[in-house]
């Protein structure tokens, strides 16, 4: 087979371009961050997680610091949410985790409010202070129930 250096060069460029595309997809678009064993893994048990899904963002003051890694059921039938956070993060042990919604119809995400204690959360720890997701239907139900009770009271 004849040797053709130009063709070899073109093939090399093609392979490099393909690998660059894969690298771009992996690093920039896929975002290999907060993953792997080095991430800070913190769990939190909620009574109600609403529509929270794995990979939902975790934010502090609106800044994304990690993602929901997995959601499972704890022994006491509460929802155990494992968060995979930026390992450089220093969170006090009295940090509060709450599930909030972006907008009325937006996606659920986890918001952390760091506390004031000196002790820090380490990987594998559990956040004690949690605030469950607000379910709109239940709130409306309570509202209707309360006004109903109030109305009866007025009649008396």
């Amino acid at each position: 087979m004849r040797r053709s250096p130009v063709r070899d060069l073109i093939v090399g460029c093609f392979v490099l371009a393909g690998l660059a595309a894969i690298a771009y997809l992996s690093l920039s678009v896929g975002g290999i961050s907060y993953t792997g064993p080095t991430g800070l893994k913190i769990s939190a048990d909620f009574d109600e997680i609403g529509g929270l899904k794995p990979r939902a963002p975790v934010v502090i003051s609106g800044v994304k610091v990690g993602a929901v890694e997995s959601i499972g059921l704890a022994d006491d039938y509460r929802a155990r949410v494992v968060l995979n956070l930026d390992p450089a993060l220093k969170l006090p042990i009295d940090t509060t985790a709450s599930i909030v919604t972006s907008g009325v119809l937006g996606d659920r995400y986890v918001s952390l409010q760091p506390g004031a204690e000196d002790q820090l959360l380490a990987s594998g720890d559990r956040i004690e202070f949690v605030e469950s997701a607000v379910i709109l239907e239940r709130m409306i139900g309570k509202l209707i129930h309360n006004t109903d009770v109030g109305g009866n009271g007025d009649k008396k």
């Binding site: 393909g18 997809l25 993953t35 990979r55």
Partner: protein
């Protein structure tokens, strides 16, 4: 009635034996991958033929598909006031489904058919018999570099397709429709996960590459030694590969959820 049942049974038997022949052929190709001497130069030449020469069509189609996704996605999402998540729609549909499948279909038409025609012509002109007479294994000498190159090239082409598609969506969404560039990219980055989406996409492309490489070379290798045989084999490569890609895509998605 009886003949109909008999014909049906015969067709089924034929189908199963054809599958068996393809599997045996695949085994021969796999075995000859590790058989020395490695045909590296031939392999690089095939990457040029199957990959570099398919590049233009991949780049054009990728950009066009991304642009169409951007346009349709924007119009639909804007109705719900969710135009900001256009990046997620374009990126996820490209990475998870469209890029691997469309790349494989395009590569089948562009490179798979050419491979079949090339090997088929070698059958017609008795070049493969010539190789056998020199006690050179035609599978090792001709087929393996082509099948291997097709498998290696597909993930690269698919990744390039994806990047072009993301660019096409950006072009329409940001440049034409006036979305914020940062919003487009950040919704894309938030939605796409490396492990679930990007790796799954590359795995799909790799499987499709192996599939197209195997079918194209098998059809060429078993061409009836006439000019009509070559044309029939080429057509059959495109048909069988396209159908298998779509069917296998369903099963990969169902089994691994990518």
């Amino acid at each position: 009635m009886v003949t109909a049942v008999r014909d049906l049974g015969f067709l089924w038997l034929q189908f199963v034996s054809e599958l068996g022949r393809i599997a045996r052929f695949g085994g021969r190709v796999l075995a000859s991958v590790v058989t020395p001497p490695p045909r590296l130069r031939q392999f690089i030449d095939e990457i040029y033929h199957l990959g570099v020469l398919s590049l233009v069509i991949i780049v054009l189609c990728g950009t066009a598909v991304g642009a169409v996704l951007g346009l349709q996605g924007y119009n639909t999402l804007a109705r719900f006031g969710a135009a900001d998540s256009l990046g997620a729609v374009v990126g996820l549909s490209l990475i998870r489904e469209l890029a691997p499948v469309l790349t494989a279909l395009l590569a089948t038409g562009r490179a798979g058919s050419a491979t079949t025609a090339e090997i088929g012509t070698m059958v017609v002109t008795e070049q493969l018999d010539g190789l056998r007479m020199m006690s050179v294994d035609p599978v090792h000498y001709v087929v393996t570099p082509k099948a291997l190159a097709m498998t290696a090239v597909m993930p690269l082409l698919s990744a390039l397709f994806t990047v072009c598609g993301i660019f096409g969506g950006y072009l329409i969404g940001v440049r034409v429709m006036g979305l914020d560039a940062g919003r487009y990219m950040s919704s894309l980055q938030d939605a796409v996960d490396f492990h679930d989406d990007v790796l799954g996409s590359l795995l799909k492309a790799l499987v499709f590459g192996g599939l197209v490489g195997l079918i194209a070379t098998y059809r060429g290798f078993t061409t009836a030694p006439t000019s009509a045989g070559v044309s029939a084999a080429t057509t059959s490569t495109v048909v069988v590969s396209s159908v298998s890609i779509l069917v296998v895509d369903y099963f990969i998605t169902a089994l691994w959820g990518v």
